[in-house]
């Protein structure tokens, strides 16, 4: 145990959590609306990383500006992909969509090998390696890490606002909660699915574009990250973006503390996340939010609060 490290390790974990959350929102949204696990997520992130690289090499567009182009581009690609292919398998057995999207990932991956070869790429700009120090706390923080973290927070705020305050957001939530009822109140669930898939892919692409500035990548990029995204959305309870953000934080803290505080070998870091995934699936199949429901404090006095925070008539 090395408690002296606890502050820098925790700060590092929080920054990492921003990144984990950003890469999981898209997966969570698509699962919520369509009950489909997007196994092409890794491929999309990889493709977005290469797009960012190409935008810089061919057009001189600074990588930190790339999301402005990458996100709308992948939004359109995602919608088209849903419309032409994914829509045809709505309502089929889950294995069908898993296999379909897994194949799509393999196709994207192999196409990338053809186009860009298997060489590992990285984007190096003056700002990608720069960091700053907080002497008082003995902390060194990379600007890019901080930037990616902030992007994750801003994305969460925008998504939360979008889902609760806009017509389209409400329709997405309604469709997530009950597809049949949504149809009966006039929501075009096919269109909602298409838009949600587009947004989900755009979010995966955002994650890919951000990653390209802090991690090296090749066509196989994203494999482990995608698996971690699964751990994050399962931890988060598959229901809300706030849940996903909390799941990301828990996962990042577990990983970083295991290595930085409890002295586990760095190579075993992934063991922590995947053990967490397995444990959560067995012990808390509804994710961390179900812990709240299990707290005895919330159970002892159900008399009124079970129904109405605003009062109302007694049951």
């Amino acid at each position: 145990m090395d408690l002296g490290n606890i502050l820098p390790v925790t700060v590092g974990a929080i920054l990492l959590a921003g990144l984990y959350a950003t890469m999981s929102y898209g997966l969570g949204l698509i699962y919520g609306v369509m009950r489909i696990v997007n196994l092409s997520h890794a491929g999309i992130m990889m493709l977005a990383a290469y797009t960012t690289l190409m935008l810089y090499r061919s057009f001189g567009i600074e990588p930190y500006l790339a999301p402005v182009i990458v996100m709308p581009l992948f939004f359109v690609i995602g919608m088209g992909f849903q419309r032409l292919i994914v829509r045809r398998i709505t309502g089929a057995a889950p294995i069908v969509s898993l296999l379909l999207l897994f194949s799509v990932w393999l196709i994207i991956q192999n196409a990338a090998y053809l186009i860009w070869s298997g060489n590992t790429q990285s984007i190096l700009r003056p700002y990608t390696t720069r960091s700053f120090r907080i002497e008082a706390l003995d902390l060194t923080i990379g600007w890019m890490r901080l930037g990616v973290f902030l992007a994750g927070v801003v994305t969460l705020i925008i998504l939360q606002f979008f889902l609760t305050r806009t017509y389209l957001g409400k329709a997405i939530r309604a469709t997530t909660q009950d597809r049949d009822s949504a149809k009966l109140v006039g929501i075009d669930v096919d269109r909602i699915s298409m838009v949600a898939f587009g947004i989900g892919i755009a979010l995966s692409a955002l994650a890919g574009a951000l990653f390209s500035m802090i991690l090296p990548f090749n066509p196989d990029f994203g494999r482990v990250l995608m698996l971690k995204s699964f751990a994050v959305i399962v931890l988060g309870g598959l229901t809300s973006f706030v849940g996903i953000a909390v799941g990301a934080l828990v996962l990042a803290l577990a990983e970083e503390w295991a290595v930085g505080v409890f002295g586990m070998q760095t190579a075993l870091k992934d063991l922590v996340s995947f053990s967490a995934l397995v444990l959560v699936l067995i012990l808390l199949p509804n994710g961390l939010p179900s812990l709240l429901g299990r707290m005895p404090v919330w159970r002892t006095k159900p008399a009124r609060p079970t129904t109405a925070p605003t009062g109302g008539k007694a049951a």
Binding site: Y167, R173, Q177, A182, K183, G186, T307
Partner: protein, 241 residues
Amino acid sequence: MALLEVQGVSRYFGGLRAVDHVDMVVGEGELVGLIGPNGAGKTTLFRVIAGVYPPSAGQVIFNGESVGGLHPNRVCHKGITSTHQVVRPFPALTVLENVLVGVQYGNVRSGDPRQRAREVLEFVGLAHRADVLARNLTLPDRKRLEVARALGTGPKLLLLDEVIAGLNQTEAARTMDLIRSIKRQGVTILMIEHNMRVIMGLSDRIVVLHHGEKIADAPPEQVSRDPKVIEAYLGESPVSA
């Protein structure tokens, strides 16, 4: 004038004729009851009208326009909405948001949606629960919400599937009053209900289905005396010598 015309509608599931060549008409402003023993095809007919299932044969004409086979959301935009037999509000939306979704995506496209949703809640008597999550409502309140959400879409024709079943006497009476006041607002209603007292008391006319076929279509007092209807409900009557 006929608002809804069901012309020779059939709906098969494999070899099962759930609805078999049914003709019926619902006039503007009318309240028509749809009854029949379990498995008679009532809910299936509702789903065909609402667009959940396309008809296997026949036509559904609404307002002079064929709507058979349109998707439910398109049918909703034309002005037909239905409630679920088993209540299914959006559990993690508030009561107000549930209605708001209906208002925003339904048939009404004028005025302030929030205002309109509040009016609907006031009308069905759920205004005091506006900010509660739907999953926390009691069953009677959930049934009201189901009706409120449907009303929010601004229907010309409202299909009510057993909104009274399962309620106690007091709640049932309240809901009957609610249905009467919906009718007074000019909404045409087609409703399924098992409780005879309720359906006799509310309906202008009653249509009876049995094994997917229509066996009676008449005012309540006449239907209750119809030998074919009595037979369908009680089994073949012993031959009186």
